[in-house]
Amino acid sequence: MSAADLSPFNSPFAAGTAGPSVRAVKDPFHGDLLEVSMGPQHPSTHGVFRMVVTLDGEIIVKLKPVFGYLHRNHEKIAENTSYLGSMPYTDRLDYLCSMTTNWAYALAVEKLAGQAVPDRAQYLRIIMAELTRLVNHSCLVGFLFNDLGTSFTPLLYAFREREKILDLFESLTGSRMMCNYQRFGGCRVDPTPEWLAAASRLVDNFPRFLDEYETMLTGNEIMLARTQGVGVLDAAKAVNAGITGPCLRASGYNYDVRKVDGYGFYPRFDFRVPLGAHGDTYDRYMMRVLEMRESVKILQQAFRDLPAGPIMDPKSKLRGFRPKAGEAYGRTESPKGELGFFLVSDGSPNPYRYRVRPPTLINLTLLEDMCLGHTIADSVVILGSIDIVLGEVDR
């Protein structure tokens, strides 16, 4: 078995550098390979993901991801539902960050219909998106440590902070997870000054939690040993495979849709994009932590500058929304990567084609390359550091 067998891609990046540190299995003492099917019910596959892993001892020599166990036909259902009716479904796409998914969909529909969004709504969207980023990243880090073998403690600390943000979401939108907050041309409800004050307080206190979290874990020797140098992702290969989000930036490639497209009012905000150097699991973990710190900065600016005004474009309609025939692709930087919605309208109240570009599915493209040569224990950690959510992978 050679590297070429495992990587049949003749892209310039695959040739020669096929990266995977697969051991050439030639030695006479070599035994049989063991095929283990991890998932769809496995504690560390973050849902119903399945990996068919071929092991040599504990070393992975082949890994095939199997999808579709949560393929709930979001796209087909959306083609039979009105544009508005799909909004609550987008909550359930990436169920950890409903607000950003809402926004991505609203963005695509606004692009399709050429709708404007008032300033206050733009700010509110950024507030919600960055709060969601805090939720997502803190959960991810907690789950990652669970994969690394902690007894839930970091996860529970992360969820403790998450609950505070969910309380905010709940008091604003009425639901903890499924916010259904964005509308085409604005947002659904306007937060009260008390809500904004509470959110601002929470955001100001958030770095304290992060500091404690980092004290607990970032310098931990076991954590360093388990993550540094594990699952290295080469930047050029990552670009070719369409890896986006923190995973790409951990490899040192500076590409953040918030900066590149400047959608929403992001160009008005002063924030930095952290970049890794090694592209390993540790970098991917740290990208999340540093992004949370940047999100806090964005949120503080947003609370400071939030303008008064309407939250809905007066021209927008709730019912009977029929965009002109045409198509549009809107993409945003969701906490997991580039989340895009491709919509084709034929002038009817339902989209003719509704396509979600799921960042996590495409980020899994290189899972095998990242895992090869590592142990089975590393594979769950690498998978955890990619940050998948099955609702989005399978849709």
Binding site: G149, F152, Y157, I222, L224, L275, A377, D378
Partner: protein, 427 residues
């Protein structure tokens, strides 16, 4: 300041006799009174049977409350309450019902009732005999180790001269039963876990033994009871002469802790039962009571190893201060044991798991050399037992340096290339 030999044992004895109060002798008195009712030829048997029943009862209960303590303490570590609503069952033939939930302390009994009555599943492809034997043997072996632990001044089930050897012989057999369980289950996860367990037992028996040898060297005996007796001194009646309060002892205790964590498959070395990777490892195919037996054996093993650590390094049943000797020795032992267990729970609530290659590397590249150096350190300590005055300070300094310098150097080489990083930003 002389703690190196048994030469002072005789000087120690009067103190012990003074503290040998009624409470101290209570368990023995009870046993003897009971045994006297029976004909003389059977008395030796009863004598031992009572010891066995006593250990089973006490440590059975101890196990039960360890599980609930673990759940509650982990809960507290994680900012939650943990089990607190079990209460007592409501019996309709009783005219009253205790509404109080008893802080959930009856939780383990509920778990026991459930586990006992749960359906027992043996996979069709499993090796039926081994599948059955593994849980039985694991409990048996882990219980055997209790035989040589001195629970109190007069409480030791079997007084063996080579108690330590016996302890390790019985203790390491539990890992073999894990292999049995993993092999017999015919499950791929179990098999992987079995291989891990074997790698672990090979790697960690050595540092565990090596961390204990300095104690043997200094105390000059393999008998656990005599090792405890050798620690029964106090400077000014306040500072106990436990082995942990010497440089080599502290290092040995740390090594022992790490190796004991690995030996008892506790986090961060719970690789055979790695939940996030191998489902439940060797336990994947065990249900009901068999699973409970494994669970029990794990805690028995933990308790026994903690007991050994207490015996060897923490002065066993000795009181920390001379004037506290009026408290019965077995209570001191249990107190220290509880302290050890709480520490293990604390570690479990904090740390993450090592990988199998890192686990073995930690053992062979770090723990084993360090334990060997510590052995030399202990030898130095034993040889310089006669130093006094300012030389004492030299003795302490040299001994401390002998262990700290290698620790730092080897620690650095072990973690070479691994450090927290700084990151650049794009704006």
């Amino acid at each position: 300041m002389n703690s190196s030999g048994l030469s002072l044992l005789s000087a120690h004895l009067p103190v012990a006799a003074a503290a040998d109060g009624l409470l101290e002798r209570l368990p023995l008195t009870l046993r003897d009174t009971f045994v006297q009712w029976f004909p003389a030829p059977t008395q030796w048997l009863l004598h031992h049977l009572i010891s066995i029943v006593g250990i089973l009862a006490i440590f059975g209960l101890f196990f039960a409350f360890t599980t609930v303590a673990e759940r509650k303490l982990l809960g507290r570590l994680q900012n939650r309450l943990g089990p607190n609503r079990a209460g007592v069952p409501k019996f309709s033939f009783l005219p009253f019902h205790l509404k109080h939930k008893l802080f959930g302390l009856t939780q383990p009994f509920a778990d026991a009732v459930k586990a006992l009555t749960k359906e027992d599943i043996v996979p069709a492809a499993a090796d039926k005999l081994l599948h059955f034997l593994a849980p039985v043997l694991v409990v048996a072996f882990s219980l055997l180790t209790f035989a040589v632990l001195p629970f109190g001044r007069n409480l030791i089930p079997v007084e063996l001269d080579a108690a330590l050897l016996y302890f390790f012989a019985a203790g390491s057999a539990t890992e073999l039963t894990i292999f049995m369980a993993g092999w017999a289950s015919r499950n791929k996860y179990s098999l992987l876990s079995a291989m891990r367990a074997l790698a672990q037992v090979i790697s960690y028996e050595l540092p565990l033994l090596l961390s204990v040898i300095p104690v043997v060297l200094v105390a000059g005996t393999l008998s656990t009871q005599e090792i405890v007796v050798a620690q029964g001194f106090w400077t000014f009646g306040l500072l106990p002469h436990w082995f942990i309060f010497t440089p080599w002892g502290a290092a040995g205790f740390l090594l022992f802790l790490v190796a004991a964590l690995a030996e008892s498959n506790r986090s961060p070395f719970d690789l055979p039962e790695a939940e996030s990777e191998l489902i439940a490892g060797h336990l994947t195919e065990y249900s009901g009571f068999k699973y409970a037996l494994f669970f029990m054996a794990e805690y028995f093993g933990l308790t026994a190893l903690s007991g050994l650590g207490v015996t060897l390094f923490l002065g066993g049943w000795q009181a920390p201060c001379a004037f506290l000797q009026f408290i019965p020795s077995y209570l001191w032992f249990m107190g220290k044991l509880v302290g050890m267990i709480v520490f293990f729970i604390w570690v479990r609530g904090t740390l993450l798991r090592l990988r199998i290659d890192q686990l073995t590397r930690l053992s062979w590249q770090f723990l084993v050399p360090l334990a060997l150096i510590n052995l030399g350190n202990a030898a130095f300590w034993a040889l310089t037992g006669a130093w006094s005055g300012p030389l004492q300070i030299v003795r302490w300094a040299v001994s401390a340096a002998l262990i700290v310098v290698p620790f730092v150097l080897m620690g650095r080489s072990l973690t070479r290339g691994q450090a927290p990083r700084t990151y650049r930003y794009a704006t």
